[in-house]
Amino acid sequence: MTDIELSRGPRKIVIDPVTRVEGHGKVTIRLNEAGEVEQARFHVVEFRGFERFIQGRMYWEVPVIVQRLCGICPVSHHLGAAKAMDVIAGVDQVTPTAEKMRRLMHYGQVLQSNAVNFFHLASPDLLLGFDAPVEQRNIIGVMNAFPEVGKWAIFIRKFGQQVIAATGGRRIHPRLCVPGGVNQNLSIENRDMLRKDVDQIVQWCRDALELHKSFVHSHEALHENFASFPSSYMSLVGADGGMDLYDGTLRAIDADNTPIFEGVQPADYADYIVEEVRSWSYMKFPHIRSLGREHGWYRVGPLAQLNCCAFIGTPIANAARTEFMAQGRGGLVHSTLSYHWARLICMIHCAEKIRELLFDDDLQGTDLVLTGTRRPEGVAIIEAPRGTLIHHYTVDDNDQVSGANLIVSTTNNNEAMNRSVKQVAVEYLTGHEITEGLLNHIEVAIRAYDPCLSCATHAIGQMPLVVTLEDADGAVIATRVKQ
């Protein structure tokens, strides 16, 4: 839905909704008197206070309760909360069986979630073209052109769900984690069931990467320049500097790959990250404290995961990363569309890690839970499919949650998404008309980040579609609401 006011002065063009991103969004492009793009904002239009919802809950309930937050990455929240509650329970290191069960679940979740983004949301744009007719630019259109993609999409996603079910008892609302450990190990039956398919999954992930690279190589200028800009990045890395999606310390680098901070323990995140609130969005804007609000924004997610780590500890993904990083000509990779390439490498890494774990006997261990001395506060960080996810809780003397703060991946990417939208608007807005092509390009830019607005804003279901026109002074001159 679009609208435009041309009759006077600076004006706003509002595009609502953005299609095929997680949740609903609204994009506002503000023009100046000369009709040039002055500002672009990716709004979040509804807020529900999930942090307040869990206040008063018993701390051991939280890993299960937080899964209600989001229908896209419930497992990430389950694991993030569980790790934080380990700290509350006084357990600094869970048993090998517990950690490997959690990792197995995590890799299954990241694999299947990234598969959905790439195959269902992104591949229609990438494989069919941004300007392909609307009736073709969807997953069915992709299947028509590339029949094998449908098979990959379904079976990779299903395999990830099977991993989640095998570790957590069911594919939604898994109940694997408890503070200090896990409820179960991996049965031989489930292990063998997953072993049977894992080689094929690895191969299909590799096939998907090759298909994507063929797109990249045939559209190199577009791939390199579209919505691209240098930025800082942040992710977890392991103690050896390698990619670690489950545990480690925070590393942030600037656009020239100079460390901003590294080795930051999760408990100390607030010393390095500041959350700013802005009047026009309900979503917070985190930034790096030492760089300030103007320069401290950063990107997270697959692109950040690859830029921040020194290597990947699985051979196929590591070789793919080496080829990927060559795009940066000795520096970092900043292309926004490279999120998709990076996402596919993360999928390969997850599939390789799953295969590795399925041959690890620790998964059949019986030492599942540890206990310790209760603490009042716990922080945990994991790399969710969309990037760095922070869970922070305080618990009172009655074992009830007294405070919670969640910084989800999409929130971390908030400023970057705004900048991507503005860049696209500057490049593709001509005259005073919002064309179908401009709409497509804006959506493509936002989808690279795979935003999960349901998660970030705690919104649900159908929100009204609001189209607003404002003049330069912010006065609303027209509003259209579509339920």
């Binding site: 899964q67 269902h120 949301l121 630019r137 997953i139 069915i140 649900i460």
Partner: protein
């Protein structure tokens, strides 16, 4: 498909979707859970937060599929409509529609079941893990209809 056939009982799938942590958004999962608890022969029931691409595999393996979702607007206590494959652009992956799932089933597996959407009217969608009383009433009436619809062909098959 002749649903009254006494020879080949239809394989029926009841697929409820929604978030039980968001009050009446849990109507779909509640419906499929109740159906599952009935243990009806030839009836499979499961739930998920949302529909997704892999559901096409399960859908293709059944003869009749009932998608069950909460409705924020529309008639109470529920509405039913036939579904057919549509290769539409989805708004988000949250909202992948049953028509798209059917379309993927047709495209990848070459098979489309007879399909219905049962939309049960809900009213509140906050962070509460319970249905509202009015939604619970709607669920009860919807289940009466649904068990009658899926029970009839099954009963006919068992009598043969």
């Amino acid at each position: 498909m002749d649903l009254s056939s006494p020879v080949t009982p239809p394989r029926i799938l009841v697929l409820g979707y929604g978030n039980p942590g968001r009050q009446d958004d849990g109507l779909g999962p509640a419906a499929s859970t109740r159906i599952d608890e009935m243990g009806l022969p030839n009836v499979t029931a499961y739930d998920n937060y949302q529909l997704n691409i892999e559901d096409a595999m399960d859908v293709a393996e059944h003869d009749v599929v009932w998608f069950v979702d909460a409705a924020r607007v529309g008639p109470a206590p529920f509405s039913v409509r036939d579904l057919h494959p549509v290769a539409a652009i989805e708004f988000t992956s949250h909202l992948m529609g049953p028509e798209t799932v059917l379309s993927i089933a047709e495209q990848v597996f070459g098979r489309v079941p007879k399909a219905f959407l049962l939309a049960i009217r809900g009213y509140e969608f906050e962070f509460i893990e319970a249905l509202t009383p009015d939604a619970s009433d709607n669920l009860r009436l919807a289940l009466e209809m649904l068990t009658d619809r899926i029970g009839a062909p099954v009963a006919a098959a068992r009598a043969s």
